[in-house]
Symmetry: C2
Subunit: 158 residues, 2 copies
């Protein structure tokens, strides 16, 4: 951990504070860094943009990928003012930065009523035991599209 | 499960196929329905939009929320051509539709090399034991923004 890491985390915290103060959304900020330079910054924007997926990490990842013109954050570092929720954790694994620094813990978030534990618990449940009802339907028809993907010669994998 | 449910799932499967054929992204589609009407449709758009978060469910949820001008999918049903990955599962819990129908299973997806199990496994690991390195930093400074959120009188919760 270097002074530069502290600088970038300080920036993520500032972005969190600015987003909160401007009523862009909740008190969360994130910064994507590559080669020691900030590529993108994002704050939680759920309530101002009516986008439940607009968490700080997702916003910063989207912006960074747009900037880098790629769907992979190779050799990037994500600094986030709080430990990611399960959605953001999934987004991080799809984007594949090489490292993540986080400020607050999920326990700190739960203490101000951002309680991700419920979602962690639901993910671990069997699909038919969750609080939101998940029902399988028309698997046979749906699988045919997967077979066509397998046979497709010009597909771009990710 | 009704004939209408089959109709909407058929639509999600068609959207998956169209997205694949047009090289918009992988073979996944989703539809959001409210009051028996389609509010939004989305196909996987990761590779064409350079957005690793543009899975079919996330695209459909974003569009539906924009259409409904809300960050909550109250009384909506999501039809997705495949069981959601952990990121999409998180997005679903934040958007809170009342029910989800899915076509292919995650095992079907793994069979064509979309293996979410790795992410499910990582989520369950302790934060310092994951393949992507997660490091806590400056928690004390970061928590101050949470304290300001708690004291904020004009906050919009979500």
């Amino acid at each position: 951990m270097t002074e530069r890491d502290k600088y970038f985390m300080g920036r993520a915290i500032t972005v969190a504070q600015q987003g909160m103060t401007s009523n862009t959304g909740g008190p969360f900020g994130a910064v994507v860094v590559k080669d020691d330079q900030i590529i993108a910054e994002g704050c939680n924007s759920v309530t101002s943009t009516n986008d439940p997926t607009a968490h700080a990490e997702v916003v910063a990842i989207r912006k960074a990928c747009a900037e880098l013109k790629t769907f992979q954050l190779d050799n990037c570092i994500l600094y986030t003012s709080c430990e990611p929720c399960p959605m953001c954790l999934g987004a991080i694994y799809w984007a594949r930065p090489m490292k993540v620094f986080y400020g607050c813990t999920k326990e700190d978030a739960a203490a101000i009523n951002f309680d991700d534990q419920f979602i962690y618990d639901e993910i671990d449940k069997k699909i038919d035991a969750r609080q939101i009802n998940f029902v399988g339907l028309m698997r046979e028809e749906a699988v045919k599209v997967f077979e066509q993907w397998e046979a497709k010669t010009d597909r771009t994998t990710y």
